[in-house]
Assembly symmetry: C2
Homo-oligomer: 326 residues x 2
């Protein structure tokens, strides 16, 4: 069975780390057909749109998409792409790897971020000059779906601690619905869980991340908390993510296009390769996923590293080392 | 001139740390009249309302209010109180003190949090069963006011780095207005500044807080980022805050009522005493404010400490040590 994979490197280091992940995937004994497509700042400069219709169609038709990064146009590319693949869950693991300098070396978190609504619904208005509103949407359906996904994920991946993040003391009706729904799901499943106000959670994650595992969050809370967790494990260069839909999915590093180092060939390919590993899991190649993860971990532990990790290796050297470990 | 200060200890450790701050203030050569008032969970249990009319009036009539903490009813107490004193700016310093175990010992941040609108406007609706909305409000007036306050604060307190936090790539109209307005204020003042997406900022604050100083934020972003900063300096027990209005103000520790340790007499009084110091600044007693701050710092450095700081002192012992240092 051939898997059609849309490959959208995008801007900046997306152009460097995406081929690295494709190289790693090419070493596995799986029948992939990679279909390349364009998006991002340069595409906008050339074609007038950051996400051309053709790219949207390639992503829609593929079995899964690998996306690198976009620059200024990031929101114009990634938000529509998430919606094209029908993503309802944004899965963001944040793990500290042995051998790397992490602020909190015991961190092993997975954020399960609602990915369709909240402040991302895109409904904004100018009521009168100087007065603008944004309509934050929370539905029972989306809350139920993300909670189901989160508890399932925790069970399947052996996480005992599940935390439901919210700000229902202020957003009483909307986060109230999110919280009540997630608690109902937990109770129906007979699952253990905790709840946490997202402000207090930000503090506790910084201080004692080892006390947390899976964190189920509304959209924007997940955006911030997962970036915070990136800070605890040594930066965005290590964090993969998955955008999971019913029939399609998109995999991308949490990092952006990093214009400061783009073009130098020194971007850390780990987040992108680990995103490809999440894709392997999604396509039901758990062994191959594990092989890729183990290879990355081994290189992070004792192989050549890119400058962001204190090494002097190039993207290519680090990628080759991962391939050698497969 | 007599300063009338409303004193609202509230629930839990609020009952322990608020008297400590009043004791410290009582040692200064300033004519305070303290008017005690009730609010919080216990008040609600007794009177049916968490914030009785009488308490609201006392806070409204006072020159300033000292508030301890509230439990489950926190939002029902603190949000109306902030509005009663006309608070438009929530000022939250987060500093690491020498001699204490901080995750990031170089942290010296001050969050200037917009305190009247954003998701706190309290407009929520049930559109149909299972579909709820919250209207997030951003106005040019409030954005201008908080930006003016923030840049003024930075200048007066010698902070060179000012960062405007936002999520204008997603909340284009609302945070767009916040960001544009704050940038205009900066330019009119000829002030240097940076802007940061609040998710990326969460990561950077965790990794390199020393690169930041004053952070001007929308309401909810300030709520989360300041709690995150608390995690970097060793927890909420050290963080004071001020809610500044045109003619009135309220001072409170960032911590809550801490029911787990309430009643044991071991609550750390630092955040509350430092909040009283912020009140002294506000009432234009800068020397006395500095004296109180120096006394707290000296005790934190080498005096008796409460258990949350690794010591075994009681609230009273730590407070007495601060008084001795005055
Ligand atoms: C680029 C932006 C729209 C996006 C988001 O807010 O989701 C990014 O921050 C992310 O986390 O992937
Ligand atoms: C209790 C709650 C309403 C409050 C807030 O969200 O402002 C608290 O978290 C704070 O930061 O003072």
């Amino acid at each position: 069975m051939t898997h059609e994979i849309a490959v959208i490197p995008g801007d900046g280091i997306g152009q460097e780390v995406t081929p690295a992940a494709v190289d790693v995937l090419g070493e596995l004994n799986i029948d992939f057909e990679f279909v390349h497509a364009e998006a991002g700042d340069e595409t906008k400069a050339e074609t007038g749109t950051a996400l051309p219709e053709e790219t949207a169609e390639i992503a829609a038709d593929a079995d899964a998409t690998l996306f690198g990064a976009a620059g200024e146009t990031a929101a114009d590319v990634i938000l529509p792409l998430r919606s094209i693949v029908g993503s309802f869950a944004n899965v963001r693991p944040a793990r500290a790897y042995p051998g790397l300098d992490a602020l909190q070396p015991e961190t092993d978190l997975v954020f399960i971020r609602e990915n369709t609504e909240g402040v991302y619904s895109g409904i904004e208005d100018e009521i009168t000059e100087g007065v603008r509103t944004l309509t934050r949407v929370i539905t029972e359906d989306a809350s139920e779906k993300i909670a189901e996904y989160g508890f399932q994920y925790a069970k399947r991946n052996g996480y005992d601690d599940v935390t439901i993040a919210h700000k229902a003391n202020v957003m009483r009706e909307t986060d109230g619905l999110f919280l009540d729904t997630a608690e109902r799901v937990a109770e129906e499943r007979g699952a253990e869980y905790d709840t946490a106000l997202m402000d207090a959670l930000a503090m506790h994650l910084a201080m004692t991340p080892e006390e947390y595992g899976v964190v189920i969050c509304p959209n924007l809370a997940g955006d911030m908390l997962s970036d915070l967790a990136a800070g605890l494990v040594g930066g965005l260069g290590l964090l993969p993510s998955a955008n999971i839909g019913e029939e399609n999915a998109l995999f991308e590093p949490v990092h952006g296009s990093a214009p400061d180092i783009a073009g130098e060939g020194v971007a850390n390919p780990s987040a992108m390769i680990l995103s490809a590993a999440m894709m392997l899991d999604h396509l039901e190649y758990p062994e191959e996923a594990e092989t890729v993860r183990a290879a990355v971990e081994s290189v992070l532990d004792s192989g050549p590293r890119t400058p962001d990790l204190g090494g002097s290796a190039s993207t290519e050297e680090m990628t080759e080392a991962v391939v050698d470990e497969l």
